[in-house]
């Protein structure tokens, strides 16, 4: 007797959880991308040794440790250092930090793929560095980096469930609350799994379509 009726009773809470999941995913991914882009620019533009070392240590540390442990350090450990964040801001900051080195790597590879000749030509024509970055480097870089950007953004959707473990009230958290009250453990977990399967498949498809359209757009412009 699968008790799917429960979803009617707990529907509002689950929808709230779903919106928190989507919110955390979008905001977290956008912030991680932004920080990743800055890291890529610093890595490319600042050659001072200490800066490169710090950058390297940051990337190694974040890529070498589990997201869950990073969240525990940020949420339970950081108050000792005076950084006291609520669950949601801690979760968003966690996603930002966790995603940033991966995005930085994608951007770095993309920027390296911009033909040097194009940049030199623009410089010879007297364009300002900021203009070169905005008009030439970013569009050309995006064409080659888009598939990886889309791919990693999709991976981040799945990481949002880990935020439930620091009490961010996203879909997994709300489902667990429901399970504790209704004892419908197996059904709820199954529905949650199916939901994520459909959700990730859907955004993968949308992502691939957007990727194609954006590529056409960028190629037309450049």
């Amino acid at each position: 007797m699968m008790e799917f009726d429960l979803f009617r009773e707990y529907g509002p809470a689950l929808l709230r959880g779903l919106s928190v999941t989507i919110f955390c995913w979008i905001v977290g991914t956008a912030c991680a991308m932004a920080l990743g882009f800055v890291l890529a620019l610093v890595q490319r533009g600042v050659s001072a040794r200490p800066v490169q070392w710090i950058l390297r240590a940051y990337v190694e540390f974040i890529r070498g440790t589990p997201f869950l442990v990073q969240l525990f350090v940020l949420y339970y450990g950081a108050p000792m250092l005076g950084l006291r964040l609520d669950a949601m801001p801690a979760g968003l900051l966690g996603l930002t930090i966790y995603g940033s080195p991966y995005f930085a790597e994608i951007f770095r590879a993309g920027l390296n793929a911009v033909p040097v000749g194009q940049i030199e030509a623009a410089r010879a024509m007297g364009f300002a560095p900021a203009t070169i970055l905005r008009r030439i480097m970013i569009p050309v870089m995006l064409v080659s980096a888009l598939p990886a950007l889309v791919n990693f953004s999709i991976i981040l959707t799945k990481e949002t469930v880990i935020l439930s473990m620091i009490t961010v009230p996203e879909i997994m958290f709300e489902t667990q609350t429901m399970m504790a009250e209704t004892f419908a453990f197996a059904e709820s977990t199954l529905v949650l799994a199916l939901f994520f399967w459909v959700f990730v498949e859907t955004i993968s498809r949308i992502g691939r379509r957007l990727e194609r359209r954006a590529t056409h757009y960028l190629l037309d412009r450049s």
Partner: protein, 215 residues
Amino acid sequence: MFSFQTIIDNLPVLAASARYTLLISGAGCFLGLIFGALICVAAVSRASAARAFAGVYVSFFRGVPLLIQLLLAFYLLPLVGVNVPALAAAIFTVGLCAAAYISEILRGALNAIPRGQAEAAMAVGLAPRDIWTRILLPQALKISMPALVNELILLVKASSLVTVVGIVEITRMSQAIASATYRPLEIYLTAAFLYLAINLVIAALGRNLERRLAW
């Protein structure tokens, strides 16, 4: 104040729990390699049913978060008659999930092997099974070694999630110690550095292996 004494006192217990982290990620990676090779063979097979199965498999295990896969294995599988101890459930789930990623890695590597090789093998009368096990998969393995090492590192990190099915590995042990000592910062940082150390060693071993394979 930051207490190094807490770290020194608890490091032995925490490091001992790393054996479960290593066991689950190592055994999970090994299973993932076997299942992944099978899924990869299915994915490039001429039989459309095999291709469809591989497609659904990869889509499911890559679409559903591992945390939820673990709970499914724990809460749901017993209802259909599969009731295995937590450790076996954890290793199998991690392995099945890894297989989805590894099959894609191997598939990418297969594309890099010249088509002529399989055709020549067929021409001299080698059975399809031998073509796979003697020619294609060994080369695919070698080509994809960097990606596989990276996958193992991902699994070491992913193994932190098996806390939910009751395996006391590094993360679960650090939660217990943090709650007993009230020193979350020191303990979770120590846990993080343990993971980092494991992964740096794996990365170094991987580079070593790649150099040898390149000969």
